[in-house]
Amino acid sequence: MSRIIVVTSGKGGVGKTTTAAALAMGLAERGFRSVVIDFDVGLRNLDLIMGCERRVVYDFINVIQGEARLNQALIKDKRNENLFILPASQTRDKEALTKEGVGKVLTDLSEDFDYIVCDSPAGIELGATMAMYYADDAFVVTNPEVSSVRDSDRMIGILSSKSQRAEEDREPIREYLLLTRYSPQRVERGEMLSVEDVQDILSLDLIGVIPESQAVLNASNSGVPVIMDGESTAGQAYSDVVARYLGEQLPHRFLEIEKRGLLGRLFGG
């Protein structure tokens, strides 16, 4: 039996796809068979972030509609043999995502994989609700910024009422807060909500804090999940997230301003 994880947020551009890619790769690096699915029908981007955009032949919707078999649509990652990508359709209408169709694909995948990571589109429309419906765990990706926090709270409400677990009155989805694009400098200056502020408002388990980092843009530019950039703070923070998700107790890093050299301390702002 596999575990189904949804990466969601409500608001767009907060780092869902970056997180889904990092999470799937991180789990694969630890030896788990992982598949990451793009639920953003019509606006697929996961293939770009994973660097496999030129290898897409069939997609998720083709499989749901019986036009392709699952193993024809799954793209095997070239860097890690445990990792597969199921791309979204770029052209079809998202109405093609049916509860039955998605359920069937997830059931088939769960025979072969340890973790199924569902990359949700922004918003609260069909793609987003389908991505979360069958989830066991949810990563609520949030930026320390008013509209993102509010939308995350809205998603938390939807997660607790519109999932299969909620409908069948089973144990609810385990929800985790992932704070991204965090800038300790701006928090220090009182310009940005702190980790504690966001936790006070959302009261969710904090699975990690990803610092604002140039490495994220570099990673997406080159189609390499940022978790593979072990030199970067963002990459290290994502590795910590994967470790925590698997049950390791790790302190949160990169929450404080990095110590600077003498010149930096004299002339830095």
């Binding site: 709270d153 200056r189 310009e191 006070d200 930096g264 301390r265």
Partner: protein, 89 residues
């Protein structure tokens, strides 16, 4: 502390604290709306319809709110009557 930062004090009342305050109010309001029973909007429309048989009130004049206490729930009904409808007795 660097020389320059000596002149800058750490802001404790920057825009972040305003953001937190606004969010706390907003999120509490959103949650109240989310947890409210589904009949509230219909109840609000029905009350407005009945009221308008007697008084020419504005569409937004009726406000229905459900508040939870530890032991009981209070259904709060707030109706704003237009100027001049009040009895001068």
């Amino acid at each position: 502390m660097g020389l320059l930062s000596y002149f800058k004090s750490r802001s404790t009342s920057g825009s972040a604290s305003l953001a937190k305050e606004r969010l706390q109010i907003l999120v509490a309001h959103d949650r109240a709306g989310r947890d409210a029973p589904s009949y509230l909007p219909q109840l609000q429309r029905d009350i407005l319809k009945v009221l308008r048989k007697y008084v020419a009130v504005e569409p937004g004049a009726v406000n229905v709110n459900l508040e939870h206490d530890e032991h009981h729930e209070v259904l709060e009904l707030n109706i704003v009557l237009p100027e001049g409808e009040r009895s001068t007795g």
